[in-house]
Symmetry: C2
Subunit: 154 residues, 2 copies
DNA sequence: ACTATATAGTTCGATATCTAATCAAATGGA
DNA sequence: TCCATTTGATTAGATATCGAACTATATAGT
């Protein structure tokens, strides 16, 4: 229905970034609307990361994992702490640093969030050819790594 | 160098959205830093769209083309107008609406912006296998259309 | 051991973006 | 013709996010 325009020659890097931008916008807005307790994708992502890969990470480690600024992660961790989803403690091996731990509420929130997102994921999966869509992952991984290393040089 | 974590099972929709989120973040920050006159990707995109597809569009048409809210586009158009990159006029066929036209400065800005972005695009292209990366486009188009039509139903 | 530099985190100010509410004009049905 | 509904645009308020400046601690070179 939407004849969205590619804002760049078809098959170009511009089109690629444009599609990525639109998908990001549509998906985060949809996720944000769906997540419980007024929390946002950025909050869920951090809690999910801590559950999946283990907690006790520093804010900087988290910032790097998600490629956001330290300031951003300071804010995100503060919000999570206000809500009681994480707790922080001094880093025993570095006096400048702190460690972010999950609370029981944090784990419970993750469960609720996944439950809330599930129907939406399923709805989308009925609309797409799953294999076609997932086939983009290796290319995206590769591009992400390139952007990442380009950034490191500044 | 960065062992970025997929925050979701490998090959899952979660990983896909996560990669897209990170790429979006890295690329828009890099673009924003590169664009001249303190302008941002959102501004460039609108001007570029008007040059490529013709001006005299309404704000709502622009909002739909980029999948952002009307409020967002009101703001973007206002900024562009402050800077003299576009001008608006009443819509002769609808008293509620307005039309957004390019100015000479707007076209000049687009040229400058493309010139400024070019080196960065080229630098990235030396870091990637271009064909691999571009091969993601059809999958992304497909996903974007699905998200788009899902959204229409609310 | 001292000093210079680097690093972890925070704070500040600016801006983009969202949702919800509002206003004005257009449209369609009784 | 009039009123209810829809639609285009704006406004208001909240929040995420960035970059830059700052503080405190750690590290390295002499």
């Amino acid at each position: 229905m939407k004849k969205a325009d590619p804002s760049g020659p078809p098959g170009s890097m511009f089109e690629l970034f444009n599609e990525i931008g639109i998908i990001h916008q549509l998906s985060t807005t949809a996720f944000n609307r769906t997540l419980p307790d007024g929390l946002h994708v950025s909050h869920f992502s951090v809690v999910n990361h801590l559950v999946r890969l283990g907690d006790g990470k520093t804010p900087l480690e988290l910032a790097r994992a998600f490629q956001v600024t330290k300031a951003n992660m300071t804010n995100t961790v503060a919000r999570l702490e206000e809500r009681g989803l994480v707790a922080t403690s001094p880093n025993p091996v570095d006096g400048r640093s702190k460690l972010v731990h999950l609370t029981g509420e944090g784990r419970a929130f993750r469960e609720r969030a996944i439950g809330a997102l599930q129907p939406m994921i399923e709805r989308i999966e009925t609309l797409i050819e799953r294999d076609l869509v997932l086939s983009a992952i290796p290319a995206l991984r590769h591009l992400r790594e390139a952007l990442d290393s380009d950034r490191d040089e500044h």
